[in-house]
Amino acid sequence: MSLLIDSKPFGRIEIDDRQIIVFPVGLFGFEKYSRFALIEESPDSVFKWLQCLEDKNLAFIVIQPELFTSTYVPIIPPSELKSLKLTKIEDALIMVIVSIPGEDPDLMTANLQGPILINKKDLIGGQFISRDETHPVRKLILDNKKTPERV
């Protein structure tokens, strides 16, 4: 079923209800917002938007971490994965939140310490803390030659 939503990046757009993901406890610092839609400019867009349905001005830019780091697997206790009705992390869609400084977009960073995990089947999501302390909150995505830093 499709529906119309108001989004920060694209204004009023039509989405499919399978794009709507419920975050039962919100995101850190945004605990009272629980319904988000995963939207994108085009199906092959690298960056996607996690648009809050309860506040048009609340939208996070997200990316799949494997596009710039091939070794990243967040360490999340199984007891926490249960909140997404998942038993192992391999079954989750992993996205990380991107911060883009207005004055220099090339210095964009991704939050590898607080990844977003989504159960695509049941459309439940959450933000978790990776117990691997080498996962930084601000990981540069592009290296200085302006190519994705893939290590």
Binding site: P9, F10, L27, F28, G29, F30, E41, S42, D44, S45, V46, F47, W49, L58, A59, F60, I61, Q64, L67, F68, P77, S79, E80, K82, I97, V98, S99, I100, P101, G102, P105, M108, N111, Q113, G114, Q127, I129, V137, R138, L142, K146, T147, P148, R150
Partner: protein
Amino acid sequence: MLVLARRLNQSIMIGEDVEIVIVDIKGDQVKLGIKAPRNVSIQRAEILQEIQEENRNAVNSNINPQTLDKLGDLFKKKGIIPK
């Protein structure tokens, strides 16, 4: 805030199933042992605060979607094809 004085190896209970034990004290550092059910999430407060702050920072990213999509092209040139 409730403030309790404890000595080495003493503990406090929070509710019925969370116990915090003073395991070691050295100078200005205290080691705490925490016994809690698996479903209780335990975090260093500063990590949580840092992620909250970074989330707020991320929301303020002001970039128009067309510019963002152009940045995404850098990935495609590299032959990394998104799923």
